[in-house]
Structures are given as structure tokens and as C-alpha cells.
């Protein structure tokens, strides 16, 4: 167990590394060592475990569930939410929240579609520049002016939506991405059937994991979320880290929006509504504390997948009335978190 498990270490949950405490060594001694170790590992990784269980069960129940095609469509659909949730993870880890991501996502898409007439570079740069500005505003207002993140990002949620409406003449204009352009390819191309957005999302999560776990910036993020007073007293760059975190969140949301526009071939104005809640839910289900200070980007990835699989399952069940669909997905959510809580070793509440 030498590998420092990049994406899943330490929060309050369970240290992924070896523990010299007798707790970890005892079950191994009692025979069935390997099985016990595996079980122990799985128990500490509640979300992936629930996910694996869910996937196994539903593959048996629904023949069309466990297919490669299904995997491809689930992954590409989730990749956009995943990218947004990655940024959200960083923000939540500092104990903040970013409600603006849904609007910023939509704005990014519209801007990208508009700029795509001049090629792929403007199509990526414009949304990043505008969304980055929004993120910087969020960050500065939170970190420098000391305003509550909830309110600041709620305001920018409105502002980004307003900007989007202004750009699209109150939603009357939909900008289209030129067919066959390099930008469209970015959203629609595949490698072995898996869309580029999936690969981009995975790469970003990899980077995010390294950023969070292996760089001083990441340590500051955890420290601020754990105790921002202590972080200040320890001389960490608290304000700078906060600004950066909101900046990254908006950039990622904008990028996800751009990719989604590339995939949809158009800058759709109605996307992203309520996306912030999905992202927050994925992050929190992924084991990140909403109060900050503990969590992993890997957990978020699992959380996003879990939400997607639940939705897919509801479709597999087939002809559920839409009202029952909500009831079922609400019920599912409870079952999953309860399973997480009771079947698997719960995190010690800090």
C-alpha cells in the first residue's frame, strides 16, 4: 500500500494510507487477511462502493444497462456536470459555495457558440475570459470584501443569466456552431466511442486531484475550509486562495458550457438552470463536507456518476409517470445516503 492514492486520501473520512493503529492491523491478523483488507478498503470508500453495488445489481436487472453503449452515453452526459462539480468541490472545500455555475455554464455555451464562427480559439477564449471575469468578481467580493459567498454568487447567477439574455436578444437568438468545425469536433468527437468531453473531464479531475493533494495551493484550500482563522494565523495566503478558487470554479463552468455548446452544436439558452444544485449534491454525496475542510475530487466524480446512474436507472425502469420519477429519485437518494451511512463505515463526525 505504498501508493499515495492520488484522488482519495485523507479527509476526516478515512486515511487511505496505512494506519499503524492497531485498528487496521487487527482484522488482518484474524485470518482471511486479503478479503478482510479488501472489505475494509471498500467500507471506507462508501460512495464508490454504493455505486459499484448499484451498477452490479442493475446490470443483472436490466439487460440494456450494462452495455458499452450505455456506459458511453452516461459518461459523456455526465462529463459537463462533472467539470462544473470539480470547480464546485474546490469552492466547497474552502467552506464557500458557488451558486452561479449554472448561469455561467449557459453563458459560456452561448458565448462559445457565438465566437465559434471565428474558429476554435476564440470559441474557447471568449467564454473563458468572460466567465473568468465573473469568477474573479465572485472571488474578490468574497475574499476581499468579506461578503457571504451565498449572496455574492446568487447575484452573479442572476447577472450571468441577464448577460446571456442580453447577448441573445432576450433569448430570441440561438447561435449555431458551424458544422464540422474543429470546435464542433471537440464536443462531438470520440476515442473508442468515448467522447472528448469525457477525456477532458478525466484529465481535469486528474489535474484537480494533483492540485488539491500535492500542491501548497491545495493545502491552503483544505486549511481555509478547516479553519480560516487558523489558516490566517499560520500565514497562508487566504484571500488569494479564495479568489483563485472562485475563479477556477467559473472557468471550469465556462469551459463545460463551451464544450456542451460544441456538443449541442449551438448556444442553447435554457441550459444550466438548477445545475448548481446538481453540482452541490454531487460534491456532498461524494463525501465533501459542506462546511469545508474535508473531501476529495475523486469523491465528487463518484458522486456525479452516482446521480447519473440513478437517473439512467429510472429510465431503464421505463414507463414511470414523471411525477413518480421524482418520487423514485428522491427515494433513491435517501436509500443511497442511508446505505452510505450504515452499510459502510461512516466518517467520524469532526
Amino acid at each position: 500500500m505504498k501508493k499515495p492514492a492520488l484522488l482519495t486520501p485523507v479527509p476526516a473520512a478515512a486515511p487511505a494510507g496505512p494506519r499503524s493503529a492497531p485498528a487496521a492491523t487487527r482484522p488482518a491478523a484474524e485470518g482471511g487477511a486479503l478479503a478482510a483488507r479488501l472489505l475494509g478498503r471498500l467500507q471506507r470508500q462508501a460512495v464508490p462502493a454504493v455505486l459499484v453495488l448499484l451498477v452490479l445489481v442493475s446490470s443483472v436487472l436490466f439487460p440494456s444497462f450494462g452495455t458499452l453503449d450505455n456506459a458511453r452515453s452516461i459518461t459523456v452526459q455526465t462529463s459537463f456536470l462533472a467539470i462544473v462539480a470539480l470547480g464546485m468541490t474546490l469552492v466547497i472545500l474552502t467552506g464557500g459555495i458557488d451558486l452561479s455555475v449554472g448561469s455561467v455554464f449557459a453563458l459560456g455555451g452561448v458565448l462559445a457558440a457565438w465566437a465559434s464562427q471565428w474558429g476554435i480559439v476564440p470559441a474557447l477564449l471568449l467564454p473563458l475570459a468572460v466567465c473568468g471575469t465573473i469568477g474573479a468578481i465572485n472571488g474578490l467580493l468574497v475574499a476581499r470584501a468579506g461578503m457571504a459567498p451565498f449572496i455574492v454568487t446568487l447575484a452573479t447567477l442572476l447577472a450571468a443569466r441577464g448577460l446571456l439574455l442580453a447577448v441573445t436578444h432576450e433569448g430570441a437568438t440561438t447561435y449555431l456552431v458551424p458544422r464540422g468545425s474543429a470546435f464542433a469536433e471537440l464536443g462531438q468527437g470520440t476515442v473508442r466511442g468515448f467522447g472528448y468531453p469525457v477525456l477532458i473531464a478525466l484529465a481535469l479531475f486528474g489535474l484537480g486531484g494533483v492540485l488539491l493533494q500535492r500542491t501548497p495551493f491545495g493545502q491552503s484550500v483544505f486549511a481555509i475550509g478547516g479553519s480560516s482563522d487558523a489558516a490566517t494565523l499560520m500565514g497562508l495566503p487566504v484571500a488569494r486562495t479564495r479568489v483563485l478558487v472562485y475563479l477556477l470554479s467559473s472557468l471550469l463552468a465556462g469551459l463545460a458550457g463551451a464544450l456542451s455548446a460544441a456538443r449541442l452544436s449551438s448556444g442553447v439558452t435554457i441550459v444550466g438552470v438548477g445545475m448548481e444544485l446538481d453540482a452541490i449534491a454531487a460534491v456532498v454525496i461524494g463525501g465533501t463536507l459542506l462546511t469545508g475542510g474535508a473531501g476529495t475530487v475523486g469523491g465528487t466524480l463518484w458522486g456525479v456518476l452516482l446521480l447519473a446512474v440513478i437517473q439512467n436507472l429510472i429510465n431503464q425502469i421505463g414507463s414511470l409517470n414523471s411525477s413518480y420519477q421524482s418520487v423514485v429519485s428522491g427515494g433513491f437518494l435517501i436509500v443511497v445516503v442511508l446505505a452510505q451511512r450504515y452499510l459502510f463505515r461512516a466518517r467520524p463526525t469532526p
Partner: protein, 322 residues
């Protein structure tokens, strides 16, 4: 208190400075907005118009009051909008037995939702946002199942009277909201439950060690929030003269949380500002009214709304004394 030897030096005189602004910023913002409208909006300072604003804000105020209590315990309740819908959906089913039984059933639904939320938060120990997310998603579905997806016209005269009637010119909904605000203020400041709730929000570990019944308090708070949301659902239904489970209370959770936070209650728990919450709701209401009355297109309206919220909260922000 007499302890001259210990009490430091005489306090510096408090001027209406930054700290003052922080404390009373919301009220100031409301005043400014009222002034603006009085000057620049036609037909604004009429009794009818003011009544309209109050009537529209009443359900938000009621939900926000419950939400403020939840936020005081460092929680949040996303399910309020769905609870409103559920209460609204149940009403027509039982109005045949009269207003009171139907009302009781609706409130019972609120209690049930609160109990589920409260149990998930306090006993199971889930993070409030996840715990209440389940009913946020499922609750509205349940409401639609109950109502068979249909909007139903309300014909019960008692319920309609609740929505449109008034006492001495003050609509019932406004009176109810006002009474609840007083009640919650009393609850927070004058009862053991209120004080303990704030302590639980301020330091849960310490509260537990001090022997407070933390679980019961948490559960109680979510139940109150659920009941308030259900009541708001009933009042909104009465005013709409229809039970509309698909649209009633959508985004209410955001409006309520916004009112609470703009009103100066921190999301980190440990304090509840009741008057601030009411004022926060009023501020948002006036803001929306102003934008509609000046017929701004949606794009401009949203940007303006964002700017004004930021300005108001910026003025009232907490300045750390260093």
C-alpha cells in the same frame, strides 16, 4: 451589573459608522428603495399598492421565518418549496370536509416532511443539504402524484376568504405572516427552545456536552420549518384560487434563504435575526416590484437585481475589526 474594577475603560462612543451600517444596512436599503419608488414610480405610494406588496411577500416571509430557524442551527432546508406544493395538493382532497380538516391535513404533511428531514439530519447525521435534497426532489413528485398532475380550481369559500379577505384593511395573509414573525421573535429570544437552538448552531459539540437535547432541538426546528412551509403553501393556494402543485413554491428555497441571509443571519449558524429576515424578504419583494413596474426587459432586470443585491449586502457586510 456593577463591577467597576473589572469592566475595562468606558466604552468608546458608538457613531453610526461601519458597525452601524452592518447592523442596520438592510433596513436602510429598504428605506432607500422605498424612497426611490416614491419619487420615480407612478402610483407607488397608494394603499392598494403597498397592500399588494405585502400580500405578495407574505408567503416568502413565512417560509423564510422557518428557514431562519433552520439556518440558525447551521442547517438549511431545500424542501420548503416542495412542501408548499404538497400542502397545496392535499387541500382540494379534503376541502370537502371543511376548511379546518383540510388545513390540518396540510399542516400534518408539513410536520411529516419536517420529521423526515429532522430525523435524517439529527439521528442519521446527514448534512442538511443532502438530507433535504431528497424531499426537494421527491416532495414535488409526491405532490403531483397526489394531485394527479392536475391544477385544481379552489371553490371553497372559506379558503378563498382566507386568501382575499382582510381585517381592518389588512389582508389575512399579511396578518398571519406578521403574527408568525412576532411568534418566532418570541421563540428565538424568550424561550429555552430558541436559546438552545442558537447554541446548537453556534457550537454543536459544546451544546451536546452541556446536556442540551441536540437531536430533539434539530428535529423540532425542521418540523417548524415544514409546518411554516405548509402554511405558506395553503395561503398561496388560497390567494391563487387554485391548487397548482407543479408551479407553487418553485425556487422558494432560494428566495427564503436569500431573505434570511440578506437579513443578516449568517449561514454558519449561531444566530437568528427575525426582523432582519422579514426585512430581507421585503427588500427582495420591493426590488422585484420596482423592476416590473419600470418594465425592464428580463436581461436588464436580472443584471439590475444582481447589482442592487450586491450593493446592499456590500454596504451591510461584516467588517472584521483588526
Amino acid at each position: 451589573m456593577t463591577q467597576p474594577a473589572l469592566a475595562g475603560r468606558p466604552a468608546a462612543l458608538r457613531l453610526p459608522d461601519a458597525a452601524w451600517l452592518q447592523k442596520y444596512g438592510v433596513y436602510l436599503a429598504v428605506a432607500v428603495l422605498l424612497l426611490f419608488n416614491a419619487l420615480f414610480t407612478e402610483h407607488f405610494l397608494t394603499a392598494d399598492n403597498l397592500r399588494t406588496q405585502l400580500v405578495q411577500v407574505a408567503p416568502v416571509v413565512i417560509v423564510a421565518l422557518g428557514m431562519a430557524l433552520v439556518i440558525g442551527t447551521e442547517g438549511v432546508d431545500l424542501s420548503v418549496g416542495s412542501t408548499m406544493a404538497l400542502a397545496s395538493a392535499l387541500l382540494p382532497l379534503y376541502l370537502g370536509y371543511g376548511l379546518v380538516p383540510a388545513l390540518l391535513i396540510a399542516l400534518l404533511a408539513g410536520i411529516a416532511v419536517g420529521l423526515v428531514n429532522g430525523t435524517l439530519v439529527s439521528v442519521v447525521g446527514l448534512q442538511p443539504i443532502v438530507a433535504t435534497l431528497a424531499l426537494f426532489v421527491g416532495g414535488r413528485g409526491l405532490a403531483l402524484v397526489v394531485a394527479d398532475g392536475q391544477l385544481k380550481q379552489i371553490v371553497n369559500p372559506d379558503l378563498l376568504a382566507l386568501g382575499s379577505g382582510s381585517l381592518l384593511g389588512v389582508p389575512w395573509t399579511v396578518l398571519i405572516a406578521g403574527a408568525l414573525a412576532l411568534l418566532v421573535a418570541g421563540l428565538v429570544h424568550r424561550t429555552t427552545f430558541g436559546r438552545r437552538l442558537v447554541a446548537v448552531g453556534g457550537n454543536r459539540t459544546a451544546a451536546g456536552l452541556a446536556g442540551l437535547p441536540v437531536r430533539r432541538i434539530l428535529c423540532g426546528v425542521y418540523v417548524i420549518c415544514g409546518v411554516f412551509a405548509a402554511l405558506a403553501g395553503v395561503l398561496a393556494t388560497a390567494r391563487l384560487t387554485a391548487s397548482d402543485p407543479s408551479a407553487l413554491g418553485t425556487l422558494m428555497e432560494l428566495s427564503a434563504i436569500t431573505a434570511v441571509v440578506v437579513g443578516g443571519t449568517p449561514l454558519t449558524g449561531g444566530s437568528v435575526r427575525v426582523l432582519g429576515t422579514v426585512t430581507g424578504a421585503l427588500l427582495m419583494q420591493l426590488l422585484r416590484a420596482t423592476l416590473v413596474k419600470h418594465d425592464l426587459p428580463d436581461s436588464t432586470a436580472q443584471i439590475a437585481q444582481a447589482a442592487i443585491i450586491l450593493a446592499a449586502v456590500y454596504a451591510a457586510r461584516e467588517r472584521r475589526s483588526r
